[in-house]
C-alpha cells in the first residue's frame, strides 16, 4: 500500500489541494470505494509520513462534522479503525468555494458491502469470531473507555481484503452527525424514529446494538428487513423485537445465537456491553433472555384505517398521521382505548393531563400540535421528542436544528416545541428522573430563554450555535470560509467586508455570543436597540472589538477600514469640528494596525465625548444669547429715533448746565481778576 501510494503521488497532476501545509489532496483521483453519499473521497498524501496510506473526505453538506470525536481519536493507534490525521476547510475548485476536508488513514481492501446492498456474502462464524468479533469487541471497549461513540457501524463501512486476508477495519464516523448515514435497521427503535440528523451521539449501548445488527447480517448474508422502508423496519422491530425481526425466522449460526440475543436486546439496560462480550469471548455462557415484548391490546386502536395493538406502534402511527392525531386525542377515543383495552390506567391519566397547562412555567395554552406532541411523548417516552416533521433525540437536537437552516418551516416547529416546553414535560413524566433526563430540562430552559428574545444574537440562530459547538458560522457573508472559531470568522469578515451594510448579521451575532465565554448580552441588546446609523455602527464595532480582544484574533485592517468608511455618522456626533478632524485623522492612522479595540477607543473616547458635550452646550448657549442680542438690537433700531430724541434732549440739558456753570465760573473769575 505504501509503495502504491508513493507511486500514485508521483503520477499525480499538479493541481492538488493543500491542507494545513501537510496534506496534499488530489481532486483528480477520486476514491469511489471510500466515498459516502454525503462525502466524496480522494487520494491524498501526508508530507510528514509519505509512506502512510491516507485519503481525504470532502464533506458535501453544511451539517456539523463530529469534531469532538476527531479530536479525541486523533493520534490514537487503533488498527481496527481508520484514524483521523487532520481536518479543516480547503479551497475546493470543483465546488467553486471551500469545503471541509478530513484526512484519514486509508483502510486496506474493499467494503464488505456496497451501500444499500441487500444480499451479502455470508461469512463463516469462525472467521467472524477471529476477524470481526474479537478485534471489534476490543475496539468498542476502547471507544467506551474514551467516552466516544462511533454510531456508524454497518457492513458497508467495514473494509477488508477477504481474499488476501488481513485485519478488518471500521470506516470513519466523523464526516456527518452521529448515525446520519445509518439506516433504521442499524439503529435502535428509539433512535431510528428520529430524523436522521437528530439521532444523537448516543451511548456505547447504541454502538453495541449496531455491532450486533452488522454481525447478524454478515453471519446470515443479509436480512429481509434490508429491503423494507425505515418505518416498516421500525414497526417490525416494535412488534417482534429486534432479534426476531432481523433473524426473520432463519437460523443464525448456533455459536452466534447467544451473542446476537445479547447485542440485539431492545432494552438498553440489559443489552450486552463490553463486560458481557468479554465474558462471552472467554467462553462463559450467559443465556441472555430477550426482554418481554410490549403487551398487545385485545382490541386495536384505528388510526387512518390501520389497526394498532400496542401503545408504541400507536404512538408511531400518530406521529405519521399528525393532522388526524389531534382529532383522535380530543374525542377521548385514545384515552379510553389505553384505559380499557391496554389496561394502563396511569398512562390514560397522563394522556388526559396532556390537555392541561399546569405549573408556574407551563405554556399559556396547549395548541393542537403541542397536544399531539405531548400525547406521543406520554405513549412513547423513550422515543425522540416529536413535533410534526421535527423529531430528534435530546442529544441530537443540535444536528437536527442545523439540518433545518435551509428549511425555516422546520425551524419554526423546533421553536414551537421548545416554547411549548416539551422537554420539561418529558422530564415531568418521570417520578425520579435520571441525571441525563434532568439535563434535558436544563437544555430546554436554556433554549427557551434564547428563543424568547428576538434580537440579534438570540433566537433559533443562538440555539443552533449553542447546541453545535463545532458548527461553522452559517452567515451568507462568510459561509464559504467554514469558520468554526472566532479568529477564523473575524478573518473571513475582514476578507469579505463591504461598506454597504453593517458587518454583523443574526448568524454572526449568535455565533459570537455562543462562542465567546464572556457575557455579551449588553452588546447584543445595544445592537438590537440601535436605530440611528451612528448607534448601529458603534454597537457592531463594540462587539467585534470585544471578540477580537478576547480571542487574540489577527489584525483586521479591512474591517477597520470598513468601519472608518461608515464612521461618518459617529464622527458627526461630535459637535466640535476641529475635534472631528483630529478624531478622523487618528482613526485613519489606527486602521493600519487593524486593532478594533484601539480604533474604538479613538472613535468613541469618553473624555472627548464629555468635553464635546460640555463645551458644545456652553457654545450653544453663547450662540443663542448672541443671536437674541442681535435680534434685540435690530428690533431696537426701529424705535431708535425715540431713544435718540430723549438722549439728545438729556444731552442738551446737561450741556446747558455745563455751559451755565462754566459761564458763572468764568464771569466770577473775570470780575475777581
Amino acid at each position: 500500500m505504501a509503495s502504491s501510494s508513493a507511486a500514485a503521488r508521483e503520477n499525480a497532476p499538479a493541481d492538488s489541494v493543500i491542507l494545513a501545509d501537510r496534506f496534499e489532496i488530489q481532486p483528480q483521483l477520486p476514491l469511489l470505494d471510500l466515498a459516502h453519499a454525503h462525502a466524496s473521497a480522494f487520494a491524498a498524501w501526508d508530507s510528514d509520513d509519505p509512506g502512510l496510506p491516507v485519503y481525504a473526505l470532502i464533506i458535501e453538506h453544511d451539517l456539523p462534522v463530529r469534531e469532538q470525536q476527531l479530536r479525541t481519536l486523533k493520534g490514537t493507534r487503533k488498527p481496527a479503525l481508520v484514524q483521523p490525521l487532520g481536518w479543516g476547510p480547503v479551497d475546493w475548485p470543483a465546488a467553486g468555494g471551500r469545503r471541509m476536508a478530513v484526512i484519514l488513514t486509508r483502510p486496506a481492501g474493499r467494503r464488505l458491502a456496497e451501500p444499500g446492498q441487500v444480499d451479502l456474502i455470508a461469512i463463516p462464524a469462525k472467521q467472524l469470531l477471529s476477524e470481526f468479533i474479537t478485534p471489534f469487541a476490543a475496539l468498542l471497549r476502547d471507544l467506551g473507555d474514551m467516552r466516544v461513540t462511533h454510531r456508524n457501524i454497518r457492513p458497508d463501512n467495514l473494509y477488508s481484503d477477504l481474499e488476501k486476508g488481513g485485519g478488518w477495519v471500521l470506516g470513519e464516523c466523523f464526516s456527518a452527525p452521529a448515525a446520519y448515514a445509518q439506516s433504521a435497521l442499524h439503529e435502535t427503535v428509539e433512535r431510528a424514529m428520529a430524523m436522521r440528523e437528530g439521532r444523537g451521539h448516543g451511548t456505547s449501548a447504541d454502538d453495541y446494538y449496531a455491532f450486533g445488527v452488522t454481525l447478524a447480517l454478515l453471519a446470515m448474508g443479509g436480512s429481509p428487513l434490508s429491503s423494507l422502508t425505515d418505518d416498516q423496519v421500525i414497526a417490525a422491530k416494535m412488534e417482534q423485537g429486534s432479534y426476531a425481526a432481523i433473524i426473520a425466522g432463519r437460523r443464525p449460526p448456533a455459536e452466534l445465537s447467544e451473542i446476537l440475543h445479547g447485542l440485539l436486546c431492545d432494552d438498553r439496560d440489559t443489552r450486552w456491553g463490553a463486560q458481557e462480550l468479554d465474558n462471552w469471548l472467554l467462553g462463559g455462557r450467559q443465556n441472555p433472555s430477550p426482554p418481554p415484548l410490549e403487551s398487545q391490546a385485545g382490541r386495536g386502536f384505528y388510526i387512518g384505517g390501520e389497526e394498532y395493538k400496542t401503545i408504541r406502534t400507536a404512538a408511531l402511527a400518530l406521529d405519521r398521521n399528525w393532522d388526524l392525531a389531534a382529532t383522535l386525542i380530543k374525542d377521548d377515543g385514545l384515552e379510553r382505548w389505553v384505559r380499557s383495552c391496554v389496561k394502563d390506567t396511569a398512562r390514560a391519566d397522563a394522556i388526559v393531563s396532556c390537555r392541561v397547562s399546569a405549573g408556574q412555567n407551563a405554556p399559556r395554552m396547549i395548541s393542537d400540535d403541542l397536544l399531539v406532541a405531548r400525547t406521543i411523548t406520554v405513549l412513547d417516552p423513550n422515543g425522540p421528542l416529536r413535533f410534526r416533521q421535527f423529531s430528534a433525540m435530546p442529544d441530537g437536537f443540535g444536528a437536527a436544528l442545523a439540518a433545518t437552516t435551509q428549511k425555516p418551516e422546520i425551524a419554526r416547529l423546533f421553536l414551537e416545541m421548545i416554547s411549548g416546553m416539551l422537554p420539561a414535560f418529558r422530564v415531568g413524566l418521570e417520578q425520579n428522573p435520571k441525571p441525563s433526563l434532568l439535563s434535558l430540562q436544563d437544555l430546554g430552559s436554556m433554549l427557551r430563554r434564547h428563543l424568547n428574545q428576538r434580537g440579534p444574537g438570540y433566537g433559533v440562530e443562538r440555539c443552533l450555535y449553542e447546541l453545535n459547538p463545532n458548527l461553522q458560522c452559517l452567515s451568507p457573508r462568510v459561509a464559504n470560509y467554514l469558520a468554526t472559531d472566532i479568529p477564523t470568522l473575524l478573518s473571513a469578515m475582514d476578507a469579505e467586508i463591504n461598506n454597504e451594510e453593517p458587518p454583523i448579521d443574526r448568524h454572526i451575532a449568535a455565533f459570537l455570543a455562543a462562542r465567546l465565554r464572556d457575557n455579551v448580552d449588553r452588546n447584543l441588546n445595544e445592537i438590537a436597540a440601535a436605530s440611528r446609523p451612528a448607534d448601529i455602527v458603534l454597537s457592531h464595532l463594540r462587539l467585534l472589538a470585544l471578540a477580537q480582544e478576547k480571542v487574540a484574533a489577527p489584525p483586521l485592517p479591512n474591517l477597520c477600514a470598513a468601519f472608518l468608511a461608515q464612521m461618518g455618522p459617529v464622527i458627526d456626533d461630535y459637535g466640535n469640528i476641529p475635534l472631528r478632524k483630529r478624531v478622523s485623522q487618528a482613526a485613519e492612522k489606527a486602521v493600519q494596525q487593524g486593532k478594533l479595540a484601539a480604533f474604538l477607543a479613538i472613535i468613541d473616547n469618553q473624555a472627548n465625548r464629555q468635553w464635546d458635550i460640555g463645551n458644545g452646550n456652553r457654545a450653544g448657549a453663547r450662540f443663542t444669547k448672541a443671536k437674541a442680542e442681535i435680534k434685540r438690537l435690530i428690533s431696537a433700531n426701529e424705535h431708535r429715533h425715540l431713544d435718540a430724541e430723549k438722549l439728545g434732549h438729556r444731552w442738551a440739558a446737561s450741556l446747558g448746565a455745563i455751559i451755565a456753570a462754566t459761564a458763572v465760573a468764568a464771569t466770577i473769575y473775570s470780575q475777581m481778576s
Binding site: 466640535n576 453663547r622 448672541a626 448746565a657
Partner: protein, 170 residues
C-alpha cells in the same frame, strides 16, 4: 362669599399710562421755595429781579411748550438764558445796584440780544443734539451687532451649522 376681582389688563382694557410726576407735596414745597426766592429777590434785589424776569421768559415758554415730563427744553434754554444774563446781574451787583441802572441795562438792545441769543442757542442744542444722539446710537448698535455676528460665525465655524439650527429652534 368669595369675590373675584379682575385687573384692568385682564378685562382687556389698556392699563392707563401713569405720568412720572413728582409727588404733590414735593411740588408744593418746591413752588413755595421758588415763590419765597422771588419774593426775597423782589424785596431785597429788585434790580436783579428785573433782569431775571427778562431772562426767565424763554425758559418759561420752553417749560410750557415742552410736553416731556423731564422738561429738558426748559433746562437747556433756561441755563443758557441765565448764563447770558449773568454778566449783567454781576455788573449790577458789583457796581451800581439801582433800579435805574437795571432799566438802563434792559434798555440796551444788546442786552436782549445776548440773553435771548443764549436762549436761542439753548433751543438750537435742544433740537440738534437728538440728531447727534441718533448717529451715536446707530454707530454703537451697528458696532455691537458686528461683534456679535463675528462671534456667531466663529461658533458656527467651530461647532458647525447645527449650533445655529438648534439656536433657531430654541
Amino acid at each position: 362669599m368669595a369675590v373675584t376681582t379682575k385687573t384692568a389688563s385682564e378685562n382687556g382694557a389698556k392699563p392707563r399710562r401713569l405720568a412720572r410726576r413728582p409727588p404733590a407735596g414735593r411740588v408744593r414745597g418746591f413752588g413755595l421755595v421758588v415763590l419765597m426766592a422771588i419774593a426775597s429777590t423782589m424785596m431785597f434785589a429788585l434790580p436783579i429781579f428785573l433782569i431775571l424776569v427778562v431772562a426767565s421768559v424763554p425758559p418759561l415758554v420752553a417749560y410750557f411748550i415742552d410736553r416731556d415730563s423731564e422738561k429738558y427744553a426748559a433746562v437747556a434754554v433756561g441755563t443758557l438764558s441765565l448764563s447770558g444774563a449773568l454778566p449783567y446781574i454781576l455788573d449790577l451787583w458789583l457796581n451800581t445796584f439801582t433800579i435805574r441802572e437795571a432799566v438802563l441795562i434792559l434798555a440796551d438792545p444788546y442786552t436782549w440780544l445776548v440773553i435771548y441769543g443764549a436762549a436761542a442757542a439753548g433751543w438750537l442744542m435742544y433740537f440738534m443734539l437728538p440728531i447727534a444722539a441718533h448717529i451715536y446710537l446707530k454707530m454703537s448698535s451697528d458696532h455691537r451687532i458686528a461683534i456679535l455676528q463675528k462671534e456667531c460665525e466663529a461658533l458656527v465655524k467651530e461647532w458647525g451649522s447645527a449650533i445655529g439650527d438648534s439656536a433657531e429652534k430654541s
